[in-house]
Amino acid sequence: MMKTLVFDVYGDFGHFKKFYTTSSPLTFAFPPPPTVRGMLGAIIGVDKNDYLDVLSHDKCKIAVRILSPVKKIRMGLNHINTKGNYWIPAKKGSHEARTQIRTEFLKNPAYRLYVCHEDDQIQNRFVENIRSHKTVYTLSLGLSELLADFKFVGLSEFTERKNGEGHITTVIPMSVIDEYGITFEKDKKYFKEKIAMEMTRDRVVERYEDVIFEVQGKTIYARTNIYWEDEKGERIIFF
């Protein structure tokens, strides 16, 4: 049994940069685990140098559910041009002062997060802060200016179960799905993205994984070697 905090985060825009795009940043459809850990760190006030440690993969389980259909918009942003490792704020020779970056944003993103920390004290701080709508640092969706709001949903007991099939509400790492384990249903749109799963405090990614999700926020019917179920029968997968 895992005492799990369930809450929603949402905002006008989100941007969770794909690691293989630099000059034309694209966004993932949902926040990858290291990003979620950063958001959790902001809520209880863990320093940005420490949160990947304090809220690491083995101490803090998280699951992410997409609540609203994933929509994207592109906007051009003016960045300063630091090519050649310097910045001159004006055109000089062939060096432009600024560089325009066409950036992809998620529109009206909303997610349900499931959080369970092995340390009761830390878990209680999460619950208390989310319940009373408090955050130590300002919460955002990927970039500091993409401010987020959040709402307490509840506390649930999730029980770990092995080998079963059913509708899963969260995004699913491919590694837990049995071979040919997904039942593809009508009116659902399935997407797969490779995301960072575990990151050290030096920001070195230790594990990437393919994750499958339904882009409109619908459930996925799958046969998995592990899943977690609550008293109401909701099935989720912790990363």
Partner: protein, 302 residues
């Protein structure tokens, strides 16, 4: 000056007439519009630029992110600019924009990654906007030998009423060793209001601040969130036909309701409203002072 102790939230509403509040450089410098909803978007950077320029030009404040020229008329590089400060501590102490908005520098030996204690979301218009394409002419040729001026073209919005929302986070300041003072925050508010009014560029004339609200909390780590989602601009006209602040009324019913609900968490409210703005509370016209009765409310005097 004492450092800030409280969390606060900022709501700022301004409008623009026959101009471009924020052009998209990779889209012909068109005003940013969400095609799905017709809502006009203004980046946080635009508002910060407004504040920086005002504080530098009118309030004698040191600004780090600024276009400065040396004696020969060449613009200063980031290295040159950084060399003017002893170290990062000195830079934070001197430059108000770094204290407010943070800064990231990747210059050798002087790297700095400061998250600004003050963060703004992108501003959004409170109604669908209409985009207009305007052509004009210039009288002076751009090059020697040209016999005539040329055509200019630009996209403008006949009208857009834009709401910005931001948070001032006291912990972000303290954790990073930023001495953000109450005075800095007051200057920020003044910069938002007067800077918006004073922007003397062709594309920004016609901007007017309409409403500014700072909700200061006494409850630790708490803020209401989404102040911008709690106001509505209601008009008898079609959204795209709105041309003036008098064409509609700003409904603050939900905002006031939320403020009252969290009254115990709020220490005080600072505000300023433009006289041409009509506010509506529960269907009735009201002035802001009256709407905020019951709170310790101070009208900002700049």
């Amino acid at each position: 000056m004492a450092n800030i102790k409280n969390r606060s939230e900022i709501l700022f509403v301004y409008d623009i007439t026959d101009a471009n509040p924020n052009g998209d450089p990779v889209d012909e410098n068109k005003p940013r519009v969400d095609e799905e909803t017709g809502v006009n978007i203004v980046t946080d950077v635009r508002l910060k630029r407004t504040v920086r320029d005002y504080l530098h030009d009118y309030k004698n404040q040191d600004i780090f992110i600024l276009e400065l020229r040396d004696d020969k008329g060449n613009l200063k590089t980031k290295e040159d600019r950084l060399a003017e400060f002893k170290d990062n501590t000195d830079l934070i102490k001197k430059c108000i924009d770094v204290r407010l908005f943070g800064a990231t520098t990747a210059v050798k030996d002087k790297t700095m990654t400061l998250t600004g204690p003050v963060q703004f979301k992108y501003g959004r218009s409170l109604h669908r906007v209409d985009m207009t394409y305007v052509k004009g002419t210039t009288v002076m040729p751009s090059k020697e030998g040209n016999k005539q001026g040329t055509f200019t073209e630009r996209y403008i919005l006949p009208y857009s009423l834009i709401a910005f929302y931001g948070i001032v986070n006291e912990n972000a300041a303290a954790a990073q060793g930023i001495d953000l003072s109450e005075e800095d925050v007051s200057l920020l508010l003044e910069g938002i209001w007067n800077g918006t009014k004073n922007l003397m560029s062709n594309s920004k004339t016609g901007q007017m601040p309409r409403l500014l609200l700072q909700v200061v909390y006494k409850e630790k780590n708490f803020h209401m969130g989404e102040l911008d989602k709690r106001i509505r601009f209601v008009s008898d006209k079609n959204d795209e036909e709105i041309r003036d602040i008098k064409d509609g009324r700003l409904d603050i019913t939900e905002l006031i309701k939320a403020l009252k609900l969290h009254k115990d968490a709020i220490e005080r409210i600072n505000y300023k409203a433009d006289e041409r703005l009509t506010l509506i509370l529960e269907g009735k016209e009201i002035c802001l002072k009256e709407a905020l009765s019951g709170f310790i409310a101070n009208e900002l005097s700049f």
